[in-house]
Amino acid sequence: MKKIIYFIATLFGLFVADAAIAQCCAAGNPVGGDGSQDAMKKNQLSVFAAYRYSYSRDYYHLSQKEDIQNIEKSFYNYGSLSLSYGINWRFTLHSEMGYYFDKVQVVNLTGGQETIEAKGIGDMSLNLRYSLLPQKIVNENRLVFSLGGRFPVGQFNEVQDGVKIPVALQPSSGALKVNSSLFYSHKNEDAQIGWSAFAFFEWSNQINEGLIVYKYGNLFLLEATAFYPVKSSTVISLSSKAEFRSMDKKENDLGIESSGGMVLYIKPKIQLKIAHDLYLHTFGEVPVYKYVNGYQLTNLFAFQVGLRKSFSL
């Protein structure tokens, strides 16, 4: 067991060394749409339906806000459906599909404001989670390793008035992405507060479709959470998430200077038990520090609300 943990830790160490820097309006689905990276019990099925809104507005150069008005704002309304199934106590299969009700950019042109808008199915996510520690009732420690990918099954050729919409606004990323994550959670029976940590790495292959030759930069996420059960039906938590993205690349492997960066978010969350095995999950996500390569439009806030229902099969 120690060897496995050491191997995974080493793997993530390499990922950290390779990853760098962030981006605001990446194409494709938001990461971790179901709000949980945990494993399931044997023959347990969890269904999670969520709605997410994200709003981007301010241009940044490095860590400074810039007064650039060419793009007024960018936002999306996104719905997702996740299924998680516990094959046994070790293995959990997780899948997720999403739909963009809209993905919009409002631009200020010489003739006035114009809107570029797309909608449609995003990428499909599929992951196999492996629980490294046996589940216990008290003094619970969870360590879950996940391996999977996001598949570009959705719309990547959205057109507005005969013009193909830019890659960043397409519902699907258009690229196959392979990802891996490690989730750790700990809560002592007598402790008021528990905590968890989550590390995620994603690599993207190159899009080579028509005129588009594009490769998204590597994405690396680190999230630490403290959670506190207020009552038996309510859990509040506060997370800090760091998102690193390396530069995107275009034709001839040329790096795109205004892509990639690092963003630090604060995420307050509430989990509310509504009925037996039915939970309401909601969280907000606000960037508190941004450092971007070149000049980029950055995210201002996002929030998500979702319902989770579990079934024993």
Binding site: L109, V163, K164, P166, G210, L211, I212, K250, L254, G294
Partner: protein, 125 residues
């Protein structure tokens, strides 16, 4: 034929031949040549400028012939909005710096045809 008559006949033959030859040429010019039917043609793509800076807007127009034409525009980097049926407004943002390709595909019931134009987008100085 007496020599006197030869002197008259030969110039007359030349004059008549020239007249007939000229008449034939006039007939050929007068015959209307059938125009080849233009089912589908994309003659050119033109732009107001080929070298711009970020967020500078240019108009790109496709000059095509045919009936029931449909236009499809795409680019590898940059943004476009339809201006009218044959023209788009193009601009490039920070991540679009460099030489970019804009392609127009024109199609109708006879098929489709494409052409491209290159536009250089530079950073602000």
């Amino acid at each position: 034929m007496p020599a006197k008559h030869k002197i008259i006949f030969l110039p007359l033959l030349v004059i008549i031949s020239c007249f007939l030859l000229n008449a034939c040429q006039q007939d050929q010019e007068a015959t209307p040549e059938p125009e080849p039917t233009v089912n589908l043609a994309l003659d050119s793509i033109t732009t107001t400028k080929k070298h711009i800076v970020m967020f500078e807007e240019i108009l790109i127009t496709a000059h095509a012939r045919g009936e029931n034409l449909q236009y499809f525009w795409e680019t590898n980097h940059g943004s476009m909005l339809s201006q009218d049926s044959i023209t788009v407004r193009y601009w490039g943002c920070y991540s679009c710096v460099g030489m970019n390709t804009i392609q127009c595909t024109v199609s109708n019931e006879f098929g489709s045809i494409s052409d491209t134009i290159m536009v250089q987008v530079d950073q602000w100085k």
